[in-house]
């Protein structure tokens, strides 16, 4: 009977150790996932800011082209306005 009790106690201790290990593994896995999440968010934000800058740059270039068209290529301006807004050009 005493042997049985000792064996049960031993089994319990092993189970507790096992549970501790399982929890430690789970926490490590969660930490890793959180780290990956943070890195991914940083990457997304960087890409977003870069894309915003790129849109701003392209728009600025396009604006300058249209400003130049006032003196160099009026037809391009007329086409752009009629195409975008459907207005009729009156010379």
């Amino acid at each position: 009977m005493r042997d049985s009790h000792a064996a049960a106690e031993q089994a319990m201790m092993e189970q507790i150790e096992g549970l501790k290990q399982i929890h430690a593994d789970e926490i490590a896995e969660r930490e890793k996932a959180l780290q990956e999440y943070k890195e991914r968010v940083v990457e997304i934000e960087e890409r977003y800011i870069n894309a915003q800058d790129e849109i701003e740059r392209l728009s600025q270039e396009e604006r300058q082209e249209f400003v130049k068209d006032f003196s160099q290529n009026k037809q391009n301006l007329i086409d752009a306005i009629t195409q975008r807004y459907g207005f009729t050009y009156v010379p």
């Binding site: 042997d3 593994d25 991914r40 728009s59 301006l77």
Partner: protein, 136 residues
């Protein structure tokens, strides 16, 4: 959005516009935009569309990443619970095995005790009866 672009451009002192009356310098009354304002008006719709698409993509990416984290956490929990469950089952099996061993070993001793006890009691009873009825 267009208005804000125009306002910001106007504040920066870049784009200008004014009102014209009929036959003043133009064939009909209307609004006169300078080249910068006109360029802003032409570019604005495309710029707004691009920014809108970008914003949507950004929000979707963030949500996807967040959901990915939630799924990973749930998977971790599920795996941990699975291992815990398996471990508990193994421990219980071991415990049952131990208890069965104890029971079987105990019942073996008991058989011999009962046998010996019965033998002694039977002999003692027979001897007592013999002594009691064999007085003469």
């Amino acid at each position: 959005m267009y208005l804000s672009l125009l306002i910001s451009a106007a504040i920066a002192g870049e784009a200008k516009f004014t009102f014209l009356s009929a036959n003043e310098p133009a064939p009909f009354e209307g609004v006169l935009f300078d080249p910068e304002a006109t360029a802003d008006l032409i570019v604005a719709p495309k710029e707004v569309q691009l920014n809108c698409d970008l914003e949507i993509e950004y929000r979707i990416d963030l949500l996807q990443t967040e959901h990915q984290l939630t799924i990973q956490n749930m998977n971790s929990r599920y795996n941990a619970l699975n291992v815990e469950y398996q471990q508990a089952i193994n421990a219980k099996d071991l415990q049952i095995e131990n208890l069965e061993t104890v029971i079987s070993s105990n019942s073996g001793v008991s058989k011999w005790v009962w046998f010996t006890g019965g033998l002694v009691a039977g002999t003692a009873a027979s001897y007592s009866a013999y002594r009691a009825f064999n007085v003469n």
